[in-house]
């Protein structure tokens, strides 16, 4: 069985081996460093909640206090629980408040005190992880009760008003109209905040802040919708930016179902420090693995900056790297919503056949991953009629190549944030195509030696060349030299570097210990 594209299994295996070789040094780096956000995520698992009157979360205050006294390199769990044992208390949030007021001093204990602190920390963090486990079991029950969507791809729709109480009725209306997955777009710039805002929020810039309370409100609303529509409606948010590990943790605690979580997006598009990103990335993926969350990677973004034909192979390379990092962190294939997009200029001759070749290549390379298929954005203009046609072809390509998650394209992309009617027309477009040609992937086998097979093999070849070149240096060097996209991102630059610390010999992170023991 050589599949629909006659890909050479030796080349495919070679590509995976090269991705492993490029990724392994980054994993080693991630295993030997921690970040403020990883430590804050550990404290969230241990039960620290809430924020000070200025809206700065207590986890931030506590991590800052510990770092000021003993540094970050031991991990905060042991100094925090050592202080708690000394105070004779079990309330970590109260300790955070005292620490913020300067009335607690932290030390890195040794001997018996260290053992006691470790054991207390492990107990508290373990309780948080068990909460994530219960959430996962709850999802399994609800999926069994309400059922999965009847069709593949799942229909993924975005809401983004800035006001969670406005998002909720829109999301519920979208579910009634056929959406299987609801994504709440985040407020512009949240990825660069080094803290997670608290509480329900009613104001945002072109999106709604991701907060634990907003997660909880939306998940509860979609549980109602699931009951009403008779299928489990999934909820998506973003584990990206400076608070990636905390976002993953909050998503696990509030039973979100999918998270956007790309290995390089923050580095390339947000100028976040590469080391910070890879350390945060690994922890967040371990949490997602445990929580049964499907990650969505961000390869579509390459194609919005670079040419979708010339740079098609960078998507394949990134997918292979994302796959390696995901497997290493314990994610199973069914959790890998590897991304790609319909972004070829429609004026290019045979553009649709090129799209099919690229989409099918991803399908054949990752047969068990629920690929995420992203709609045209770059070549959408104010011509909404043409936009609707382009979205129809995008939907058709999704059906023909067996994509797993289809982000519904809007004909008003680049014009307005979608209106009620835009969403309705877009869903009608999807329903027509899936209704008329939903099973066409069964019949769609490109001709041997034909255009599509040749193109797919060419892209795979270019991906291998690029991976060979990366293998000669390292992934960090490749990123520093601008191999992905056109941005040069050196490892010693970018936002969030001051929140990174190398592990001391006695570094302790009970969350990682528990997550890795299970894997």
């Amino acid at each position: 069985m050589t599949g629909k594209l006659d890909l050479d299994p030796v080349l495919v295996a070679r590509a995976r081996e090269l991705a492993r070789r490029a990724g392994q040094p980054v994993v080693d780096l991630a295993r030997s460093h921690t970040t403020v956000s990883v430590e804050r995520a550990v404290l969230r698992l241990a039960g620290v909640t809430g924020a000070d009157p200025d809206g700065i979360p207590w986890v931030n205050r506590l991590v800052d206090a510990v770092a000021a006294d003993v540094g970050l390199g031991h991990g905060v769990a042991v100094p925090v629980f050592d202080a708690l044992v000394r105070e004779g208390s079990t309330d970590v949030t109260l300790l955070a408040q005292k620490a913020a007021a300067g009335s607690v001093r932290f030390t890195q204990p040794t001997g018996r005190a260290a053992t006691a602190a470790r054991s207390a920390a492990r107990k508290a963090v373990g309780a948080g992880i068990r909460r994530i486990d219960r959430r996962r079991a709850e999802r399994d029950r609800l999926v069994k009760r309400h059922g999965d969507p009847a069709q593949r791809p799942w229909i993924y729709l975005i809401v983004a008003t800035g006001d969670i109480y406005e998002d909720i009725p829109q999301a519920q209306a979208a579910a009634r109209a056929g959406a299987d997955v609801i994504a709440v777009i985040r407020s512009t710039g949240q990825s660069l905040l080094d803290y997670v805002p608290e509480g329900a929020t009613r104001e945002g810039f072109a999106g709604t802040y991701a907060t634990q309370e907003n997660f909880r409100l939306m998940r509860a609303a979609l549980d109602e919708s699931s009951k009403e529509v008779g299928r489990y409606v999934r909820l998506t948010n973003y584990a990206s930016g400076l608070c990636m590990p905390e976002m993953a943790t909050l998503a696990g605690l509030e039973r979100l179902d999918m998270m956007l979580n790309d290995s390089m997006y923050g580095i390339l598009f947000r100028d976040i420090n590469p080391v910070r990103t890879f350390v945060d990335q690994r922890f967040s993926r371990q949490v997602h693995a445990r929580a049964g969350i499907i990650i969505n990677t961000g390869e579509d973004n390459y194609l919005t900056t670079a040419d979708a034909v010339d740079e098609a192979h960078t998507v394949t390379v990134s997918q292979l790297l994302n796959e390696f990092f995901a497997h290493e962190a314990g994610l199973a294939d069914w959790q890998l919503g590897l991304g790609h997009a319909f972004e070829i200029n429609p004026e290019v001759p045979e553009s649709f056949r090129l799209e099919l070749a690229h989409a099918l290549l991803a399908r054949e390379l990752f047969p068990d991953a629920p690929l995420k298929w992203m709609p045209p954005t770059k070549h959408m203009t104010g011509d909404v009629f043409r936009g609707n046609l382009l979205d129809g072809f995008f939907n058709l390509a999704g059906a023909l190549t067996g994509q797993g998650i289809l982000l519904v394209g809007m004909m008003t992309e680049a014009v307005v944030t979608p209106w009620l009617s835009d969403r309705d027309i877009a869903l009608q477009n999807v329903r027509y195509v899936l209704g008329a040609a939903g099973g066409l992937h069964e019949d769609f086998v490109p001709a041997p030696g034909g255009f599509i097979r040749r193109r797919a093999n060419q892209v795979l070849g270019e991906a291998l060349d690029l991976l060979e070149r990366i293998g000669e240096q390292t992934l960090l060097t490749a990123i520093a030299e601008g191999t992905f996209g056109i941005m040069k991102r050196p490892a010693d630059r970018g936002k969030g570097l001051d929140g990174v610390a190398a592990h001391e010999a006695d570094y302790c992170n009970p969350a990682t210990d528990i997550l890795e023991a299970a894997a």
Binding site: L192, F269, T304, M380, S421
Partner: protein, 261 residues
């Protein structure tokens, strides 16, 4: 290259009055679509006709009406509009520079400046809102348009938030900035105006007129006509896109400068 020359299309005097064109000159036909927050029934269609009539469409034909969710109906209406357009009375707010594509911006810089154009950006004062400066500078950009980092021929230094004016001047000097972009979101007690004046004064003091970078401020609450009062070269308000800023940079630093030389 899309040159918006600002010239009105020359109109023969006899044809200054026009009407929309369906398939016959003067038929006045238009097509509109809209949603009304009412459940779909006969009355809803009547409501759509009433709205169309009030818009000047008479007669109006509701050719499509479709219920959407609870209590909403989508309509497509065709009909004859009774308004006339007087081309001589058209008034256009002119942009005083041409809007260029990213490719054109890069080409002009490469061919005429023959080096990368250096841009330094920051949020100054206590303002921690990097939303504005990031929307303009980050590759991610805003509303589907890539930020200045995406332009090959621009060298962008984004200093982030809470940058002091002396730091900004120092960085502008070190990076040999051709332009300095400052974003101000917080307007409490006119902080954005004070900060901007402090910044422009510092640059005037630190560098002679000919060597001073182009000073640009942006933010949702600025009045775009206050450039002289604030001592800056340009003010950008709400909704400005990276492409507009890039086009302005090319205009102010290359095209216009060469034209004046």
């Amino acid at each position: 290259m899309s040159e918006h020359s600002g010239q009105h299309a020359s109109v023969p005097t006899g044809k200054a009055i026009v009407r929309p064109y369906g398939d016959t000159t003067g038929d006045g036909m238009v097509q509109v679509s809209f949603t009304l927050p009412v459940t779909h029934d006969k009355r809803a269609e009547g409501a759509a006709v009433q709205l169309a009539n009030k818009m000047g469409i008479d007669p109006a034909m509701v050719v499509h009406a479709k219920p959407m969710g609870d209590g909403f109906t989508f309509f497509v209406v065709y009909g004859r509009v009774n308004h006339l357009v007087d081309l001589n009375a058209v008034q256009v707010v002119e942009r005083d520079f041409a809007l260029l594509s990213a490719k054109d911006v890069n080409t002009v810089i490469k061919q005429r400046l023959r080096r990368k154009l250096s841009v330094v950006g920051a949020c100054i004062g206590t303002d921690a809102h990097t939303v504005g400066i990031d929307a303009i500078l980050n590759v991610k950009g805003i509303a589907g348009e890539k930020g200045l980092e995406y332009y090959r021929e621009l060298k962008v230094t984004n200093m982030g938030a809470q940058v002091s004016v002396p730091e900004l001047v120092e960085t502008a000097r070190a990076e040999k900035a051709d332009a300095v972009l400052v974003s101000q979101v917080v307007t409490q007690r006119d902080a954005h105006l004070h900060n901007t004046r402090e910044m422009s004064a510092a640059f005037r003091e630190a560098m002679p007129a000919g060597r001073r970078p182009l000073l640009i401020v942006g933010g949702p609450r600025f009045d775009e006509t206050m450039t002289d009062e604030l001592g800056v070269d340009r003010i950008f308000g709400r909704g400005t896109t990276p492409g507009e800023v890039a086009s302005y940079l090319v205009h102010a630093l290359i095209t216009q400068r060469k034209a004046m030389a």
